[in-house]
Amino acid sequence: MTQTQEQIRETPLETVDLRHEFADLGIGAVLDQLDSELIGLKPVKTRIREIASLLLVERIRQKMALATTFPTLHMSFTGNPGTGKTTVALRMAGILHRLGFVRRGHVISVTRDDLVGQYIGHTAPKTKEILKKAMGGVLFIDEAYYLYRPENERDYGQEAIEILLQVMEQQREDLVVILAGYGDRMEKFFQSNPGFRSRIAHHIDFPDYSDAELLWIAELMLQQQNYRFSPEAREAFIRYIAARKVQPLFSNARSIRNALDRIRLRQANRIVAKLDRTLSADDVMSIEAGDVLASRVFTKGAGAAGEGR
C-alpha cells in the first residue's frame, strides 16, 4: 500500500502553472521589498532577480523530475564598506528560504575570530560549532580573506578553510555560504584558494553609491525614524556628503547612518538648550541646517582623519 502511495507522490508533474508557482512562493513580494527598501544597487538587484528566476525554474524542474543535482548556491559579495553586503545577505536568506533551497532561512554572521582558534586543536571544534548553528540557513563570512594568512604557514585559518570547503561540497543541501569582503582582496584570496572559487556559483559586486543615492538613503533612514530635513538642512546635507566622501574612512551608507546619529544628537542638544517653551511634533521631528553644519567634516579639509564629528 505504501508503495503505491509513494509512487503517486513521486510521479513527476507534466505541467506547472508558472504564475501560480510564483505567487505561491511569495518571492515577488520579497523582490519588491528589496527594490523599495534598498536604494540604488541596480546591478545587485538585477543579479538577485536572475538568481531567483534560476531557482524558480530549478524548483519547477525538480517537480518535473528533470533536475539531477542540487544547485550550488554559495555566493561571494564584494564591494566597499557600507555598500549593503550584510543587508543583502539577510534578504538573500529570506529568498532562498521561500524558494525552499534552505530549510530555515536564518543567517549566522561570522568573521575569522569566530572560526579560527588560538591553539592546536581549537579550530576544528570552533568551526564545526558555527557550522552546526548555520545548518538549514546561511553562513555569512565577512572579510573572508582574513581566514587565509599566507605569511604564517602554521596559521590555523587553513584548518578552518579545509573544513568549510568540505561542508560546502558535501552538505550543499544543508547550508549556503556567502563570503563577503572588499573586491581586490577577495580576488587575491580566491587566487590562493582556488577551492573556494570553484565552489562559488554567484559572484555579486556591490558598487559605491552616488551622491544622489546617499541623499536618498539618508532621507529613507530619517523617515524610518520619524525625522525629516528642513529644506535648508537638506541643502546642507548635500554639501556634507560631498565633503565627507573625499575624507578617509568613508564607508558609504554606514557613514550616512553614523552622520545621522550625530545630527540627531545635535538636534536634541539644540532643543534642550531652550527649556522654556512648548514643543510641537514638528519641532522634534525637524532637523535644521545648523544641526548638519556643526559637523567637523566642514571645518576639516580633505584628507583629515576619521569619521568626523
Binding site: K132, G136, L175
Partner: protein, 141 residues
C-alpha cells in the same frame, strides 16, 4: 535480546529520516540535544558518556545528524541515544530520550534470584555483555 529503553524502543529502529524529524522537534521546542553512548545496557545504568557537548542554539537537525554519524563511526558497536533536555523553569529535566544505534548482536540479560530471609527473593539482572571489560563488550562483532 533486543534492548528496550526510552521512547520508541518497542518500534522498529528509527531510520535516519525519522531520527532527524525527532531531533528537529526537540530543536523547535528549544531543548538542548545530547548524544550519549555506552556499552553497558543495564536499564539502571545512568552513566552514559557524552559525545561532545550538549547542543543548543541550533536551528536545524542537520548539524546533529552529522555529529551522530561521526559518533557512529567511532562507537558504532555500542548503544547510542539522543536526548532532549528542557532547561525552562519548572521542567529542568530530560523530556525525551531514544536509542539511535545498537550493537549488531545483543546477548541480553541473565536474571539472578537470591533466596533471602523468610521466603523473600531478591532479583538482579546481569547483562551478559557486561562480563567483559568496558570497551571490549561488543568488539568482536
Amino acid at each position: 535480546m533486543r534492548m528496550t529503553q526510552g521512547c520508541f524502543s518497542f518500534l522498529p529502529d528509527l531510520t535516519d529520516e525519522q531520527i532527524a524529524a525527532q531531533v528537529q522537534y526537540c530543536l523547535d521546542k528549544g531543548w538542548a540535544v545530547n548524544i550519549e553512548f555506552t556499552d553497558d545496557p543495564h536499564p539502571r545504568n545512568t552513566y552514559w558518556e557524552m559525545w561532545g557537548l550538549p547542543m543548543f542554539d541550533l536551528r536545524d537537525a542537520a548539524g546533529i545528524m552529522k555529529e551522530l554519524a561521526d559518533c557512529r563511526r567511532v562507537y558504532g558497536d555500542r548503544y547510542v541515544r539522543i536526548s532532549g533536555f528542557d532547561s525552562s523553569h519548572g521542567w529542568e529535566s530530560v523530556r525525551i530520550s531514544f536509542i539511535v544505534n545498537r550493537p549488531r548482536e545483543e546477548p541480553g540479560f541473565r536474571l539472578d534470584r537470591q533466596e533471602s530471609v523468610g521466603r523473600n527473593i531478591r532479583y538482579s539482572t546481569h547483562a551478559y555483555a557486561a562480563t567483559r571489560p568496558e570497551g571490549e563488550r561488543y568488539a568482536d562483532q
